[in-house]
Amino acid sequence: MMRAVASAVLSLYPKAWRERYGEEVADLIASRPARVRTVLDLVSGAADAWLHHRRVPGARTLTVPLAAVLTCMGAALLLMWNPGLRDATDVASLRGVWAEAGPIARNVQGMAQSLFGMAGVISVLSVAPLLNTCLAAMRGSVHGPLTRMTARRVVMTAWLLVVPVGLVGLTFVSLAFLHAGYPVGPLGEAMAGGFYVPLIMALVLPLPMTAAGAPSLGSDVRGTGQILASAALCNALAWGAVATLLTLGLEKASWSFVAMVATGALVSVWMTIVVTRSAIRRGRTVMGQLSPA
């Protein structure tokens, strides 16, 4: 019985590990007494093999596509915002606390809104220099065919992204600045941007990633990444202001609500870091192709 369980546990190991050691370990299991300890040891070994799968001889790097990571993060943010936080009674019930806090709460709320607003605007503008270079490359004859073709693809992608970026931006502005939707309140208005700015950043990312196809556009790709880094910084600072606002009403907030806000903040900040790092790294890689070997 234990031997069968131990053999079955082998299927929990990564494929590269099984290809390399599977037969040997199966032979060991078959030729030695199998106990509960053996099974637990194999389960622990499987977890270790997954954690250190790069150490398995001949293992390929496990890579999750960036698009899939960003899609999952974006979907998580949207779900946490709506129905997650917007439906939470705390958003409405805490309104009285902040009314008592007076100008402090209003100032902190305004700071968060402004920082998120800046992050959104910077994100959209981050691709302006790149688009400018691409438009110039399409018109001129200085660049080679690869650069011209890549520039055309970047501009076409930009046109395709205008509507989604516009919709996300409009939703953010409506919720944060135009008191649209229910029931947002001071905290909701303050933190709405934190759920939408990362989406805007992720939506503009295809432009530098597409531009990375042409080494001559490498400096613009890296430049976009650097500008996106300032947007990510504004986003993180804005979450700091949201945390301050939440602290003012912490006594009346439920732990689940605080946990949801904290998770939203973490995902938001993490997503902006992933986007920024991807653009900067891609820019560096492309520029490295231009350097003499």
């Binding site: 040997e24 370990v25 032979d27 030729s31 053996t38 194999l42 389960v43």
Partner: protein
């Protein structure tokens, strides 16, 4: 400065036992487990043994030997032998320091 296998983590001790076992000649997993149990009294399970083998192979301290048999033997490499020598020298220093200090504490020195 002795080369310590810091990244071997919880496999450090097992890796040392494997290197000692292979130092006298190539062995496959089954023989390694029996040999280690015989000279150290440590009964290894397959998951732990192969976690250590994976790390040792990655470091180039052991290597598989081509074999048509299902049980693949492993042998220690030159760098593995040198790493083993350094680890044993470190253990000797620890043992000497321990014996000296324990002796002093018991009033035997």
């Amino acid at each position: 400065m002795a080369r310590r296998p810091k990244e071997l983590g919880r496999f450090t001790d097992v890796a040392l036992l494997v290197l000692i076992s292979l130092a006298e000649g190539q062995k496959h997993g089954y023989r390694m487990i029996n040999d280690i149990e015989e000279f150290s009294g440590t009964s290894l399970e397959p998951g732990t043994l192969y976690g250590a083998l994976m790390r040792l192979e990655e470091r180039g301290w052991i290597e598989p030997v081509e074999s048509a048999e299902r049980r693949k033997p492993y042998r220690i490499t030159e760098s593995g032998r040198s790493a083993l020598g350094e680890q044993l020298a470190t253990l000797r220093r620890i043992e000497q320091a321990g014996a000296r200090r324990a002796g002093a504490a018991w009033g035997l020195a």
